[in-house]
Assembly symmetry: C2
Homo-oligomer: 141 residues x 2
């Protein structure tokens, strides 16, 4: 029910775990690694939209095969202070690195997809042959 309310402003750890299909242990682990910093109400953790976004970014990074250390670096790129010129250049370099990695991944995906497509084609051909044979056999009876 409440799940349907599009604009929730805070979540419990169990809610987030359910939503993203991970365990609460995992969420706490990310916090221990300094990747999320939920508010505290006494002992309880309270997650705000910002935390939820971070969690999403972490999971996206994981799907792409980045390590938590790399993901931390990427996220750090997002919420950074303007800084001065030297920093900014170093910063742009970092971004460029990440972009190169992502584009390599993209090429890898394209290759794999087209190979899979080829396998699928030959698989369907074979299936057609079998189907055809079965149908001819059926017609003979």
């Amino acid at each position: 029910m409440d799940e349907l309310l599009a604009h929730k402003s805070c979540w419990t750890i169990a809610e987030l775990a359910r939503e993203f299909a991970i365990t609460t242990r995992t969420i706490r682990f990310y916090e221990a690694e300094g990747m999320i910093a939920p508010e505290r109400q006494g002992a309880q953790r309270l997650y705000h939209p910002r935390d939820r976004v971070r969690l999403k970014l972490i999971l996206r990074g994981k799907r792409l095969g980045f390590t938590l250390a790399e993901i931390r670096e990427i996220i750090d790129l997002y919420d950074r202070e303007p800084g001065e010129a030297g920093q900014l250049q170093h910063f742009l370099d970092k971004i460029e690195e990440r972009r190169a990695e992502l584009e390599q991944k993209r090429r890898d995906i394209a290759l794999t997809l087209s190979e899979l497509q080829e396998v699928e084609r030959s698989c369907r051909r074979r299936l057609d042959e079998l189907g055809g044979a079965a149908m001819r056999e059926g017609a003979e009876r």
Copy 2:
């Protein structure tokens, strides 16, 4: 020198390790996991084009964040016997699974790339501001 000969037909473990920038330990590990099966000349391993291709596939899979177990499954899709209808359908299902994963990764990459681009833009804006300020300051002297 020999490296320039495009059509080598076999490699030593050290050559492959150098070419792909991994350790020999890693290559042997993949063999122990049953992912490569080089020829043996006595105790020495001899890698043929087929082994080299497999190694490439493994590394590509790793870049995409697949586990070795998943990579093994993907590679298995490639060199599979025709088989009968039931197998083939199950086989097509597997392919579909992998495709779905790859397309998820593709979306993830697109999102990350566009976010990085946004960060880069704001970074360059800031850099321009600083540059402009420095230049005006220079002109004042």
